[in-house]
Symmetry: C2
Subunit: 310 residues, 2 copies
């Protein structure tokens, strides 16, 4: 079974468990709307890939960790989309949860997804109690205060922000949790996999900034130009489009270089390259570079003006 | 050390751990505002009392369970107070989190408190891995979908609601989690303590409905008359004030009767009676009954009109 199918099935199983007659039906519908059909599922894929690279010996626990990570990610999207933050109408190409179910249920669906993430881990973790505690800590560190994705989002409410710290928390933290949890679910030491999560997390944030500038809403599946609109820190604004693209490539290379020596190293390298191409295709980088050079040539430089032939 | 002091110290310790220079300071301030100075802390007190009754042998784990329960309760209050729900200006006698820090930080502070609850449990639970998994499940069941407090709140977004199911989830679920977690933290079987949580949970919800009708905002520490204002199901509306009070007394007695045989049974009975008096003083019940009888006597009944002497 390919990783994406495995993740979709595991997510579906968990959400179905919550479907009991005693539950408020619109809450369940809002939770399902937030999780399916889903995006690239890159975080749980990363968790699975690292678990495999570490000689996965407890697949149900890997599934639980991967599902928990994706549920936490989906919860953060539901809350980030709400009117008091991005006030976004669309996400993953369809109306956001609060647009379909209203603000109260969007708020509660996000809360319920966070709790379901920990419940998923607890349900399977009971068979692996030693690994459960470590996995829990990893997920909490990746999501809460002081350095998880909730803290990252909260930096948007501060008057002074360090771009690196903001991005490490807002995006990087859950990528680090994904790689570390993959190792921990397989009973391995997570420390060697931290670098991969850090590099990929930063690369994804940079890619998100680039895509927010370059693509249209129908290609993004969500409103475009949101960083500028909300005056959010952005690598594309800081470094320019070309600079941000070069930085993205360097981060993806660093991600590949960080993968520890293991039999699955080439498979992991392949996954990273594939994601890199999916996020920011090389052809797009080449096009932006050509346009930049053309603009540079068309506009005579000060040196040309001064030193050129009469 | 009395239970309340022990809980305050344990809560303070956990919130202080999140205070690191890398964290967004306003998020930390919003979290602290949501937790301190706090209300009666009845849920964590209940957790501690049950753990003691079960021969508490891991006090740090009891503390962690009690703190986690209170953090989850505080998180639910922050989110319930937000404009898309109760739009409350005050809570526990001071401005609500969104009034002081704005909606985005109230949303995030609630999320961060939920995550901190699980992190608190994980941090101490690593020493007691078998108990950790059971405690986690108890807390998740008490808070999430299908039957936890988030589901209870979500019943307010449904067009058809069963009052009992709504109250069991909205208030009862976290009381059940409190008694069960107390037993589990002490390594005991929680099943005998479920009834106490169920009775107290329902009694608290009924008391809340009564107090919402009887008291003024300055006595409640939050806006009064909210149930009628938001057209919420309410025992006071369903049974009348006198009927609701009688029902409350019966539930408190059932709570006392449910306490399993144990050396601490009389201490537990004392705690329940003390809470009963704090919530709805006997003097208030007597006054309402007197007023009811006076009104009944002053207004001739149909029977009197027909059968009375000319």
């Amino acid at each position: 079974m390919d990783m994406l199918t495995r993740i979709q099935q595991a997510l579906n199983k968990e959400l179905t468990l919550a479907h009991r007659p005693s539950a408020p039906p619109r809450l369940l519908a809002a939770m399902r709307h937030a999780v399916f059909p889903g995006g690239a599922r890159i975080r749980p894929q990363l968790c699975l890939a690292v678990a495999r690279a570490c000689g996965e010996d407890a697949p149900a626990l890997t599934d639980a960790a991967a599902v928990a990570i994706e549920l936490l990610h989906c919860a953060s999207l539901v809350h980030d989309d709400m009117p008091c933050f991005d006030d976004a109408d669309t996400r993953r190409g369809k109306p956001t949860v609060h647009k379909v179910f209203g603000e109260p249920l969007a708020l509660l669906a996000g809360d319920a997804l966070i709790i379901l993430a920990y419940e998923t881990l607890a349900r399977t973790g009971v068979q692996h109690p030693q690994r459960l505690a470590a996995l829990l800590m990893t997920l909490c560190e990746g999501t809460g205060a002081p350095d998880g994705i909730v803290a990252g989002q909260a930096w948007e409410c501060e008057s002074r922000v360090d771009l690196g710290q903001y991005q490490r928390a807002k995006t990087g933290a859950l990528f680090v949790a994904s790689t570390c949890a993959g190792a921990q679910a397989a009973g391995a030491d997570p420390s060697g996999w931290r670098g991969l999560g850090e590099c990929l997390g930063e690369a994804y944030q940079v890619a998100d900034d680039i895509r927010d500038v370059m693509l249209q809403a129908d290609q993004l599946g969500k409103p475009a130009g949101q960083d500028a609109h909300h005056h959010r820190p952005s690598a594309a604004a800081d470094l320019g489009l070309l600079g941000a693209m070069a930085y993205f490539r360097r981060l993806m290379q660093a991600a590949i270089d960080s993968v520890p020596e293991c039999p699955a190293r080439s498979a992991m390298r392949h996954l990273v390259l594939q994601e890199s191409e999916r996020l920011i295709p090389q052809s797009a980088c080449d096009r932006v570079e050509r346009e930049h050079q053309a603009a540079h040539l068309a506009r005579p430089s000060v040196v040309t003006c001064i030193a050129g032939p009469a």
